[in-house]
């Protein structure tokens, strides 16, 4: 058999990748984690995490990921910061191509490339990013002190971040396409009790309008075909995620219709020696705790596979 440099390469350093890395480093595998930016993934931009077991008082997303990184580092996980440009995952030696034309090889790969916020796909959105259109409340919230803004979405992220934004904004209008929220009950209770938060139900943003100073108003249409405009200086969009699958070999890997990777309960993909964990997996629920759990399962499955091939 061809020689591979690594027993395991983990692609992506969010909670799934860092947990897989922690397990691999403790398991004394020759393992490498490749990450394009800083470790932490989407949790880095999450204001507050109140449901990660063990953190009784809650913890900021930023600090939680700092700790997960430090935890993997404690066992000596090898990390490399580079963009992956392509992957060849068939055969016994997997190839990971990097932007500097280097190619890494491994016997197993765990894909933890995660997901990113969906865009609304309406006129004005692209043009006004950074000038009123935002996908990160912790980053951009403080620029909206005493202003009137909107949040689009009705899930956990939308409501959590709407609550966070009330620390800065005078008024936060939550625009949701249904007549009730999908967010968990405790967040709903907090949102309904907050007099800075207002709701537009059965509503869809059809255009974002602005000038050189940024967003000025939103065009909104309702399910009953009526419409309105809402004057805001900012719009924060939290309507779900799309998979970070651009570098994945989609001709080799089995994915669902939305492009998320299909695995079995042991995180095995359709390719031998290739596993997936975290938000890139096809699944219903995207939580930090299940990303971490899947990272652990994927690593143990990888070890099992390596053992069976020895």
């Amino acid at each position: 058999m061809q020689q591979a440099e690594y027993q395991l390469i983990i692609v992506g350093g969010g909670p799934a990748g860092l947990t897989a890395g922690l397990y691999a480093a403790r398991g004394r595998l020759k393992a490498l984690l490749v990450e394009k930016g800083a470790t932490g993934g989407q949790v880095l931009v999450t204001d507050w995490v109140d449901n990660y077991p063990g953190f009784v008082e809650g913890i900021s997303g930023f600090e939680l990921m700092d700790r997960m990184t430090a935890h993997a580092d404690r066992f000596g996980l090898e990390k490399k910061f580079a963009n992956v440009t392509a992957l060849d995952l068939e055969g016994p030696v997997k190839k990971v191509h990097l932007e500097d034309d280097a190619t890494l090889t491994a016997r197993t790969v765990i894909l933890c490339t995660g997901a990113r916020p969906s865009k609304l796909g309406v006129p004005g959105e692209e043009e006004l990013v950074g000038r009123g259109v935002s996908y990160c409340a912790t980053c951009d919230g403080p620029f909206y002190r005493d202003q009137e803004i909107a949040v689009v979405g009705g899930g956990n992220t939308a409501i959590q971040e709407a609550l966070h934004l009330t620390k800065f904004a005078r008024k936060v209008t939550v625009i949701h396409r249904r007549d009730q929220l999908r967010a968990t009950r405790i967040l709903q209770e907090k949102a309904f009790a907050n007099d800075k938060i207002h709701f537009l139900w059965n509503a869809r943003v059809t255009a974002i309008v602005g000038g050189k100073d940024g967003v000025e108003r939103l065009e909104i249409s309702f399910t009953d075909t009526s419409s309105t405009t809402l004057a805001v200086t900012g719009i924060f969009i939290f309507i779900g995620v799309v998979p970070n699958n651009e570098v994945l070999p989609l001709d080799q890997l089995q994915t669902d219709e939305a492009g998320f990777i299909i695995t079995d309960t042991e995180m095995r993909t359709n390719l031998d020696g290739v596993f997936a964990a975290g938000d890139i997996r096809s699944k219903n629920f995207r939580q930090i705790i299940n990303a971490a759990g899947e990272g652990a399962t994927a690593e143990l499955s990888a070890e099992h596979y390596l053992g069976s091939q020895a």
């Binding site: 800083a38 935002s134 990160c136």
Partner: protein
Amino acid sequence: MASEKVMHVSDSEFDTKVVGNELPCLVDFWAPWCGPCKAIGPVIDELAEEFDGRVQIAKMNVDDNPATPGKFGIRAIPTLILFKGGEVVDQITGAVGKAQLQDLIKKAL
């Protein structure tokens, strides 16, 4: 590792250190509470080494220095603005990749 070639600027230093700089300047507007700003930190350091002597890479903490970000209409971070001869050449918002930042910087060369 943080590069010593990155220049940290404040509101009061902006005119002399950025506008008056003989080199083109790329200014990274950031804050400690911003995750994506942290994410591009290592790239900013690498760019400072790569373009040393040709482009000055600078950082401004928007928490400590509200005047300059206000003047340039910054409402999201990280925002990176490229200056040449004191004029804005181009800008990018969000945690983009190294290649995109290299392309941005090359507009001033």
